[in-house]
């Protein structure tokens, strides 16, 4: 036990690279952003009372489970890679990985594979894409932004070859169960999102492994000096992210009962989800809880728009506007603001 805590100490020192925590500003900041978001949701709920009906909440959660899972994946990568967007951690291949994994999963089921082997191979494929990213970033040394951009186009190409840009319908007992209602009359996919969030939050925020991932991302030089295998943790984050993309792919196939082309449209919402989520953290770090909250917020926002019959054409613009507002205000007002 003492060996663990003594090994944790230098890691915590590595975290110092993020700047000393500022509890007061951090708290004000966090509650401020929470209040803003609750206010927006309350406004939506007031105009569209259906928004907060139990059935609708379940639907929003089930819908958010796909982009939320991808958001968790990006959260891991950004945690271990650092927030510098060009040189730090970023995985642009997540959405394309989802597309490829979903296409593979649906094709395997269509080809008559059983649930378990198809699921296993799909998760393995997602993991493989993550491994390719890890290799490119840590062994070859390609900038993550470029490496994952390239794997993104490899995945998208492979998906096209596999599906010829057509929808692959899929059904199986497992998918039926996943798409159905679970305990408390809540969709299974909604439960899946919450359970996944709990597991990952425990992993990232409650274990030495999580602390080391943040340490590596916060200050690689300090982490290296503290004896952490920086490349290993960096690689691990990409591999886990790849695996999570495959999990999201299974959820996506369950949600639409098919693998559909156009997964690349998910890339931008997933980046928004992760970076919007940083406002819920006192140090403006991406956290699992923050990502979950922002996935739900964006989910309710888009859903509220639908209920209010506002054109879906606005959705992208609002998300783009949101991310700019969030980043600009965190720059100017948030904890650790510079200049």
């Amino acid at each position: 036990m003492s060996s663990i805590s003594s090994r944790l100490r230098p890691t915590a020192a590595a975290l110092g690279g993020l700047g000393p925590s500022q509890p007061v500003t951090g708290l004000v900041w966090r509650s401020g952003s929470l209040i803003a978001i609750i206010f927006i949701l309350a406004l939506l709920a007031w105009r569209a009372p259906l928004l907060l009906s139990p059935g609708n909440i379940g639907l929003v959660l089930a819908q958010a489970s796909i982009v939320g899972t991808l958001g968790f994946a990006l959260t891991l990568v950004v945690a271990a890679g650092g927030r510098d967007l060009v040189k730090g951690g970023i995985d642009l291949s997540l959405a394309a990985n989802l597309g490829l994994s979903a296409a593979l999963y649906a094709s395997l089921l269509t080809a008559g594979w059983g649930d378990l082997p198809a699921l296993g191979l799909t998760l393995l494929a997602g993991l493989g894409v993550g491994l390719l990213n890890a290799l490119a970033v840590t062994v070859i040394g390609i900038l993550p932004l470029l490496a994952t951009l390239a794997t993104m186009s490899v995945c998208a190409g492979a998906e096209l070859v596999l599906t010829e840009n057509l929808t692959v319908p899929a059904s199986s007992p497992f998918l039926d169960w996943l798409a159905g209602q679970g305990p408390l009359d809540f969709p299974v996919m909604a439960w899946a999102l919450l359970v996944l969030a709990a597991i990952l939050a425990l992993l990232l925020h409650g274990t030495p492994l999580g602390l080391r991932l943040y340490g590596v991302g916060g200050n690689p030089a300090a982490a290296r000096a503290a004896g952490l295998r920086v490349r290993f943790y960096l690689a691990l984050s990409y591999v886990l992210a790849g695996l999570l993309a495959a999990v999201a792919a299974v959820l996506a196939v369950a949600f639409t009962s098919a693998a559909t082309p156009g997964s690349d449209e998910m890339l931008l919402p997933l980046i928004v989800t992760t970076f919007l989520g940083t406002v819920f953290s006192s140090r403006l770090r991406p956290t699992i809880g923050g990502t979950l909250l922002s996935a739900l917020f964006v989910g309710f926002l888009v859903n509220g728009f639908q209920l209010l019959a506002i054109s879906s054409y606005w959705a992208n613009g609002i998300q783009g506007f949101l991310i700019l507002v969030v980043v600009a205000t965190t720059r100017k007002l948030g904890p650790g603001a510079r200049r």
Binding site: L85, L145, A150, W314, G317, I323, V327, R331
Partner: protein, 318 residues
């Protein structure tokens, strides 16, 4: 030695690609095919990649080059449809693209948002804007009544037997090479790209220069947008995004040509030619569109692996 191989590696790969497709693909080395590759594949990608090169030179990135291209096409077509004349329409297109770049500049230099997130936001907003203005993303055709000869010239014109697009690529390449390597503006940009803090403390007008770069990149994309739209007589929403990945790939492949790994015009042009030749050659060999996508992705991945892996082997930090 490793450096030498690295610096000329992309040239060798490009020559090998020419040799491979010349040997295997019927008609690849014929003059009409190569001319068509230049006009249809290389030219517009080169112009878009020049915009990217300029931004990457300052240490930034522009994910919204496709948006600038689309905005230019949209404004160009909109002006033509209300019969404002080709000159005004071209200016409107360039202005729309410049405004896109100006929006990026505002976000990056005033609000201090990182180029990646700022241009990502612009990409998002541009997507919505096009959906709203183009009725959900429907193509907008240039009506037959509004097709003066000047419009035809923009799309398919020849000067001394050479396509207008090629002339523009050559002029832009020369202008940018001169700007980057011979002007004090170019040296300031390179300084900002390498050590932005040092440049700032040295009293360079970093913010002003970088703002100008994003506007300039927008205008260059505007040229591509107007040429693209004039070439097919229709504005297709989100068409510009197809250039993004290849422009980034070409620009970073091109950095291998430079001793100090900075983005440069010659390298970018070589990268564009490599990507275009690979696409055309694979098409002639009989690979369908889907396999081409996969192969292009792999080519870019390998080129990047070669670039960065070589640098790591050579001992430099990427």
């Amino acid at each position: 030695m490793t450096n030498l191989i690295l610096r000329h590696g992309i040239t060798v790969v490009t020559v090998l690609a020419f040799a491979f497709f010349g040997w295997n693909a019927q008609g690849f080395l014929s003059v009409p095919n190569l001319a068509s590759v230049l006009v249809n594949n290389v030219a517009l990608l080169a112009i878009a990649a020049f915009a990217m090169t300029l931004v990457v030179r300052t240490g930034g990135i522009d994910l919204s080059i496709g948006t600038a291209i689309d905005m230019a096409g949209l404004a160009f077509v909109a002006a033509l449809r209300v019969n404002l004349g080709v000159t005004i329409a071209v200016l409107a297109g360039l202005a729309a693209a410049a405004a896109t770049g100006g929006f990026n500049a505002l976000l990056i230099t005033r609000l201090k948002i990182s180029p990646f997130l700022a241009t990502l936001g612009t990409l998002f907003i541009g997507h919505s804007l096009q959906q709203l203005l183009a009725d959900g993303g429907n193509p907008i055709y240039v009506t037959a009544a509004s097709l003066p000869p000047a419009f035809q010239f923009l799309g398919h014109g020849l000067i001394l037997g050479v396509h207008l697009r090629i002339w523009l690529v050559v002029i832009l390449a020369l202008a940018m090479a001169l700007l980057l390597s011979r002007s004090s503006f170019g040296r300031r940009l390179t300084a900002s790209g390498m050590q932005v803090n040092v440049a700032w403390y040295s009293g360079l007008p970093v913010d002003r220069d970088i703002a100008l770069v994003y506007v300039l990149a927008g205008v260059i994309c505007g040229i591509a947008g107007v040429l693209l739209t004039a070439g097919v007589s229709v504005y297709v929403p989100f068409a510009g995004n197809a250039f993004l990945l290849n422009a980034i790939g070409a620009t970073f492949i091109g950095t291998t040509l430079s001793r100090s790994h900075v983005a440069n015009v010659q390298g970018t042009l070589l990268g564009v030619i490599l990507i275009s030749v690979a696409a055309n050659g694979l098409l002639l060999i009989g690979w369908n569109f889907y396999w081409q996508q996969l192969a292009t992705g792999m080519v870019i991945f390998l080129a990047l692996a070669f670039t960065f892996g070589g640098r790591r082997l050579a001992g430099g930090t990427p």
